[in-house]
């Protein structure tokens, strides 16, 4: 099992955003998370990637505990050092890309493997070029992010995340900031990664994509997982009233 989250609770002040969420992801699985805006999808990914601290619950990557909860019910994070080791297991692709504007496309992809993972420049360059080829961007290696379309920027962001060779890749609405005509090119590379058995968790509003690509779909609402299962089951025959309602709104 690559990721195991259990009993996750997270509040912002009075607002309970995640109420006892459990989620596990196996190697090679593609899990889509759908749900109305404000239901806590981003917060869940941000907790999984340690951008937010959980209040209670457990998080494990590759059977290594990152967060445990003691008898008093408060979350305990492992030591800084171990946490940094665990961070190597995942990557995150943001809705707003968050590329480094002062770095060229190639440097965006190469910099972390060289300066974080301390790998050799030559080796990293070769892999980065290969990744850019895969993202259909090899001729934009020397461009700067501001010279690229949103779809191209998001593909660079995916290459940047993949360059660190994560075991699992999270996507938080990777196409929501894009013009509709550019979503296809990003979804295409995610689909391609799915075919290569990359383990992924994708928060998305692209229902046909989620249905076609994922092994499992999770419907979240108001901080809880309302329903989950095979995409054909969730989309074709939803059991919960809230799921039905949400999907009905989406057809229109």
């Amino acid at each position: 099992m690559i990721l195991q989250m259990s009993g996750i609770q997270k509040s912002f002040g009075e607002l309970e955003v995640l109420k006892d969420i459990s989620l596990h992801v196996d190697a090679g699985e593609v899990v889509s998370i759908i749900g109305p805006s404000g239901s806590g999808k981003s917060t869940l990914l941000r907790c999984a990637t340690f951008l937010e601290r959980i209040d209670a619950g457990e998080i494990r990557y590759m059977d290594k505990a990152a967060v445990t909860t003691d008898g008093n019910g408060t979350a305990e994070y492992v030591h800084h050092r171990e946490l940094n080791e665990i961070k190597r297991y995942f990557g995150l692709v943001f809705q707003q890309f968050n590329l480094f504007p002062h770095y060229s496309v190639l440097k965006n992809v190469m910099d972390a493997p060289i300066h974080v993972q301390k790998r050799s420049k030559e080796e990293v360059r070769e892999e980065a070029m290969e990744l850019l080829r895969k993202m259909d961007l090899e001729n934009r290696a020397d461009a700067y992010p501001c010279q690229l379309s949103g779809g191209q920027q998001q593909r660079v962001a995916i290459a940047r995340a993949l360059a660190l060779k994560p075991s699992i890749l999270f996507f938080d609405e990777p196409t929501s900031a894009l013009d509709p005509e550019l979503t296809g090119e990003v979804l295409k590379v995610i689909r391609q990664l799915a075919e290569e058995k990359m383990t992924m968790v994708v928060v998305t509003h692209e229902m046909p994509f989620a249905r076609a690509v994922s092994n499992r779909v999770i419907f979240m609402d108001k901080g809880v997982i309302v329903e989950q299962g095979h995409p054909e089951a969730v989309f074709g025959d939803p059991q919960q009233e809230r799921t039905k309602q949400f999907l009905r709104n989406y057809q229109r």
């Binding site: 340690f50 951008l51 961070k87 968050n98 480094f100 300066h115 700067y144």
Partner: protein, 215 residues
């Protein structure tokens, strides 16, 4: 007094003005960075003291601050320090400009989107790497125009060193003008400051252009 003698006697003053200028930049640019970190400290007391410091530095005349730095040690502590004049000038200028630079840095840092820090964190960059590799280069680009303004003001402010009877360019111009009953030294002084600022503007524009490879 001929023009060339006038220029020669003012030349030493020009050098002293330049010395004040460069030493102030040398100290205040990094010092401002330190002040900015203290200003953004999570410890409330540190933040408050820094705020008060910045408020005083920006809220009182630099001329008064120079007098305080120079005469303060004697009147407050009864210390008379030999050869302290120049040190007091550099202290006064550096502490004052550090406050201005700190606020410029702070504005620049706060303008960097949170997503840049988050991306760096998820990619595994350390805090130090994130600051120096990701944040600072972007900050420098955005604050460059404000820094240029400050530097241009500094060129003109060096003339305030005359308050402490330091023989920089402007003090000499005044002395010569009085002794020779001539207006010429003032014109020379004006041209000197103007040219100095022209050079500053030119250099800074070059630097800004060099950073224009991205938006």
């Amino acid at each position: 007094m001929s023009l060339s003698t006038m220029l020669t006697s003012m030349g030493a003053g020009m050098l002293r003005s330049c010395l004040i200028f460069f030493l102030t930049l040398l100290f205040s640019l990094p010092l401002g960075m330190g002040v900015m970190f203290l200003r953004r400290s999570r410890i409330a007391v540190v933040q408050w003291i820094t705020k008060i410091y910045i408020a005083i530095m920006r809220g009182t005349p630099l001329m008064l601050q120079l007098l305080m730095w120079y005469f303060g040690p004697y009147y407050i502590f009864g210390w008379s320090i030999r050869g302290y004049r120049f040190t007091a000038i550099i202290l006064g200028f550096s502490m004052n400009y550090a406050a201005y630079f700190a606020e410029i840095y702070r504005g620049g840092i706060e303008a960097i989107p949170k997503g840049q820090y988050e991306a760096a964190e998820v990619l595994g960059y350390s805090k130090v790497q994130t600051f120096f590799k990701i944040i600072l280069p972007q900050v420098i680009k955005t604050i460059l125009p404000s820094i240029t303004n400050e530097i241009i003001t500094l060129v003109k402010d060096t003339s305030l060193a005359f308050t402490l009877a330091y023989n920089e360019m402007f003090s000499l111009a005044k002395q010569i003008a009085a002794s020779q009953t001539s207006f010429m030294p003032f014109i020379i002084a004006g041209i000197f400051y103007f040219i100095a600022n022209y050079v500053v503007a030119f250099v800074m524009e070059r630097i800004e252009k060099a950073m224009n490879y991205y938006n």
